[in-house]
């Protein structure tokens, strides 16, 4: 195996092992698992209360479990027509309605929470080693670039494992609490959304490690990590709002540099939408990460 890949893989494995040893990874996995399970349980309860309300209104006795009416509604042409009117895109509506309701909910949940969790767990990883000096035991054994890439890969694998386990948590709750639950289809879509949420999380991981490469204090790294994430969200929102024709087209370019601009592509199930979104998100992950590395490669350790 090429020495570069070998070095990166050793560092990535150690990153995983170190997270397990410090219980940090276990805490993160539990956080994802319990978070996803609890959110799914809440969602199902909410769904049940809506269904009960609707069925009472039309004078039909409500079922004990949630989901029966939703599943029927989900497959109805009436809902499809309403959504097409609202969204204005029949293909997107067909695409979304082909996903079981709980699969769709899990996708939303993963897209919404993963960036913040990634900032929380990953932004300390390099700053901490610089602050304790433990990085000095490594820097004469591996190139700085290899070490940072190894850290990125290790962290990315952790997020992937955590997302997949959170899907298991959400699926298990759905299995026992939702009427009309389609186990195989829902599991498939949950895994797919876990992978998509992972891709969507990579720019945030690049941002977290980019910030971490700038800072000497792990606390500062977390603070700056969150501030940069909030700043990115604001830029994404404002640029989308201001984008238009003529010179306002520049806002489209600004918008393209934020992960939010490419999230919509991940809601689709076809390559024509997903592949460009994935390519942009990977490029953003590399860009954010490299801004930090430009500093780290020359800094005193």
């Amino acid at each position: 195996m090429n020495r570069t890949f070998r070095t990166i893989s050793i560092i990535a494995r150690n990153e995983l092992a170190d997270s397990v040893r410090s219980r940090w990874f276990i805490a993160m996995v539990i956080l994802y698992l319990i978070g996803a399970a609890a959110a799914t349980a809440l969602f199902i309860s909410f769904l049940h209360s809506i269904e009960t309300e609707v069925l009472r209104t039309i004078g039909v006795s409500a079922s004990k479990a949630a989901g029966g009416a939703t599943t029927t509604l989900w497959k109805s042409d009436s809902l499809r027509r309403v959504l097409v009117e609202l969204v204005g895109d029949r293909k997107l509506v067909d695409n979304l309605l082909s996903v079981p309701p709980l699969g769709l909910f899990y996708g939303w949940l993963a897209f919404f929470f993963t960036p913040a969790l990634v900032m929380l767990t990953s932004s300390t990883r390099i700053a901490e080693e610089v602050s304790t000096g433990s990085v000095r035991y490594v820097m004469f054994r591996a190139a700085r670039s290899h070490w940072c890439i190894g850290k990125f890969v290790g962290q990315a694998l952790q997020v992937l494992v955590a997302l997949l386990l959170s899907a298991v948590g959400a699926w298990t709750v759905g299995m026992f609490r939702m009427h009309g639950f389609e186990p195989m289809a829902t599991a498939g879509y949950m895994v797919l959304f876990a992978l998509k949420a992972w891709i969507y999380a990579l720019p945030f991981l690049g941002l977290a490690l980019g910030v971490s490469q700038f800072c000497r204090s792990p606390i500062l790294a977390v603070v700056f990590g969150f501030l940069s994430m909030v700043a990115l969200s604001i830029v994404s929102f404002v640029s989308k709002l201001l984008a238009g024709k003529g010179w306002r087209g520049l806002w489209d370019i600004v918008h393209a540099f934020t992960p939010g601009a490419h999230k919509s592509g991940l809601w689709w199930n076809d390559g024509a939408h997903v592949i460009p979104a994935v390519a942009f998100l990977l490029a953003l992950a590399a860009a954010y990460y490299l801004v930090g590395y430009a500093r780290f490669s020359r800094r005193d350790l």
């Binding site: 050793i10 080693e129 820097m139």
Partner: protein
């Protein structure tokens, strides 16, 4: 390649402070090299600059004949025992050493035996499965020393290696370093001049980021030209000695006389004559010291 490490006019500034101010240094291959200087003289900075941990502001660095530090060229060939650096607290000793060994390219079939040998060396075999956070400061220091010798790199830089070690462990580590003489170039920075004297064959004094003097310990301590006699009683027979050895100069202090002699005499010849005259004069010789001591030379070369 004659020098394992060569620094020429190396500069390193921290803001307005010039920590290294055109430092020159040449560490011969296979030597044990002592780096001596007061606090803030630039010893730690010199080591960090040499191994790429700090970015120099100027000058030339040549590490193992392959230019300035570059991981592609030097990984596995150079090791450092950094000062004030902590290990990840949750890692176990053997896991940590295994990680470092793998990283620097120690062959897979040699990793375990290398770790076992080094842990035995630093007396930590029984703590191999302990988490770093459960180790004392001295034990962590010994793990640090062990990691520096993993894979027998050609150049090892040890920053205050014996700091925080109890006397027994310090002696053990000194033995460990002595055994490596001729096999690896080892640079030791220390304030303990007795350690440097006991271990090193080359010494450099640095002050305010500049080299004051570099030479072999033999020359710095003037072992070939100085003998000091400590005596307990009787009148020192200076006239007889001057008559017998007219080319020898004597420096007298209380109960102490130092002979400074030309190279026509060997130490043994001079000693034989001097001892005979001292004993004949009834002077009780308590101790004989060959050459000067490093502390005196340090104080002479690095005045306040």
């Amino acid at each position: 390649m004659s020098a394992a490490l060569e620094l020429k006019g190396v500069v390193k500034c921290y803001g307005k402070l010039r920590a290294l101010d055109g430092l020159d240094l040449a560490v011969p291959c296979g030597s044990i090299f002592g780096l001596i200087g007061s606090n803030g003289a630039g010893k730690t900075t010199a080591m960090a600059v040499a191994t790429g941990l700090l970015q120099p502001g100027g000058g030339e660095i040549n590490l193992l004949g392959a230019g300035a530090f570059c991981a592609e060229k030097h990984a596995g060939r150079v090791a450092v025992l950094p000062q004030d650096s902590r290990f990840p607290p949750h890692a176990r000793v053997e896991q940590l050493l295994r990680f470092y060994a793998q990283l620097q390219g120690v062959p897979a079939d040699a990793v375990e035996s290398n770790i076992n040998e080094l842990l035995d060396w630093v007396h930590l075999s029984d703590r191999r499965r302990s988490a770093v956070r459960t180790l004392s400061h001295g034990m962590c220091r010994r793990v640090s020393i062990a990691q520096a010798f993993l894979g027998a790199p050609e150049l090892v830089l040890l920053d205050e290696p014996l700091n925080g070690l109890d006397p027994r462990e310090a002696a053990r580590v000194r033995d460990l370093i002595r055994q490596r003489r001729g096999k690896q170039a080892i640079v030791i920075s220390s304030h303990q001049l007795t350690d440097i004297e006991a271990l090193c064959d080359h010494v450099a004094f640095i002050e305010k980021g500049k080299l004051v003097r570099q030479d072999t310990l033999e020359k710095i301590m003037q072992r070939a030209h100085r003998i000091t006699y400590m005596f307990g009683g009787g009148l020192f027979p200076l006239p007889q000695l001057s008559a017998a050895l007219p080319e020898v100069k004597w420096e007298l202090a209380e109960n102490r006389a130092t002979a400074v002699f030309p190279s026509k005499y060997t130490t043994e010849e001079l000693n034989a004559v001097v001892l005979r005259i001292l004993l004949d004069a009834g002077v009780g010789v308590l101790e004989i010291q060959r050459g000067s001591d490093l502390e005196s030379e340090y104080l002479r070369l690095s005045p306040v």
